[in-house]
């Protein structure tokens, strides 16, 4: 069981995307004026699609400290401010969505195990529906998924900080059936991808807890 903090921007229905279960307890941290949450006790920080990146930029130091304590960060949104260590999301409309394809590049932890990449590319035969823009990734990070033009779309970074950072280029992911897709098969792929990411964080935490130090 791990403890996750989910940044809530007051958007309607966010609680439906992160429902606590036997693996994980979700706590919503609602952004308000002078947002300064206590991250003590959480293993994982999640910035879902639709997050407030002005508020997150004001927490930049706190997030860096959280990661340096060996904790984990998921960001499934477009962070236009510079609050994530070593990695930056960039919005771009230079490429046509009709030309967008995704390719697995470095998937050391098999987070795409059982996930059909085509379901992230196409929805109702339309391509480019899931992510937006790309990630200017840290040179030390693994680019798990890249697009037609070798631009990072999913990044896993264990080197920039002591913690684990998993990022999508604003591709929404969540822990329940409320993924914004009308296509059941695309939903299945997104759900599986999220569970694989979550299982990695749980496995890493268990490994850390079981480690014997001399």
């Amino acid at each position: 069981m791990i403890q996750a903090a989910v940044i809530s921007n007051g958007l309607d229905g966010i609680q439906n995307y992160f429902v606590s279960n036997e693996k994980i307890t979700y706590t919503l941290l609602e952004v308000g004026k002078d947002f300064d949450p206590d991250l003590e006790g959480f293993d994982l920080l999640i910035a879902p699609n639709g997050s407030d990146h002005i508020a997150m930029a004001k927490l930049k130091g706190k997030v860096a400290q959280f990661l340096d304590e060996g904790k984990a960060l998921f960001c499934f949104d477009g962070w236009f401010t510079n609050w994530i260590p070593g990695n930056q999301w960039i919005m771009s409309n230079e490429k046509k969505t009709i030309d967008i394809r995704y390719f697995i590049k470095t998937d050391a932890y098999a987070i795409f195990d059982g996930v059909d990449v085509d379901k992230l590319i196409y929805n109702h035969n339309i391509s480019g529906w899931w992510a937006c823009g790309y990630i200017d990734a840290s040179a030390h990070a693994d680019v798990v998924l890249e697009d037609t033009w070798q631009r990072p779309i999913i990044v896993l970074d264990e080197k920039t900080t002591n913690g684990t950072i998993i990022l999508t280029a604003s591709g929404p992911l969540g822990d329940s059936g409320a993924i914004p897709s009308g296509n059941e098969t695309s939903f299945t792929a997104l759900s599986k991808l999220y569970q694989n990411m979550l299982n990695l964080i749980i496995k890493k935490k268990n490994h850390e807890n079981n480690r014997i130090t001399i």
Binding site: G10, D12, V31, S51, G128, G182
Partner: protein, 214 residues
Amino acid sequence: MKTIGLLFNGVWSQYTFATAPKYKHLIKLIYIHDFDEASLEGLEALLIPFQSNQKAIAERKDLIYKFLGQGKKVFIEGDSSMDWLDAKWEDRPTNNYWWVENPNNPPISETDFSHPIYQGLSARHSCWHTHGAYTTIPEEAKAIQKEPNGEVISWETNQYGGTLFATTLDPIVEHGVQQITHLAHYVDQLIYWLSGDKVSGQFEVPKENYGIPV
């Protein structure tokens, strides 16, 4: 000169729209948690986009109604789910693919094309998808767009002094996302209606706008 305020929730699509060179000379970003009377000085109109923090807006609704009382314009889009409007919004499934699967059956069947925002627009340019419906609207409001079942998608009223226009369309956020390529038709007419300024040209996304500190 910036004459249109945009209540900003720290969401990237709102930021991308308001910082695009095509619009940025007209749009003032007003961070919702800093929103006060001084924020509205010199403005003629206010945009309240989809993915807003409705709870934070509700706490500051008097500012909006006072602005309307001064004869100004307010345009509200998307999930106006809180009770600060004299209208009832209800969620409905969003259909993103009607134009692929059933192009002759758009979600909106009735549009008042005499309204300045809609003059000269095609049916497709006036509706891409909807986010719910209004099941009741203010006493003196007039429906501008309806679904085939009669549910109201867009309405307008002058009963608060200025002009209040509400819609469950999401032109600002979707134009920021840049996945629907024809939205400039709608948005440019909206900007003209709100400010009296005509805009033209391509929607550009300067890379230097990303990775900013706060």
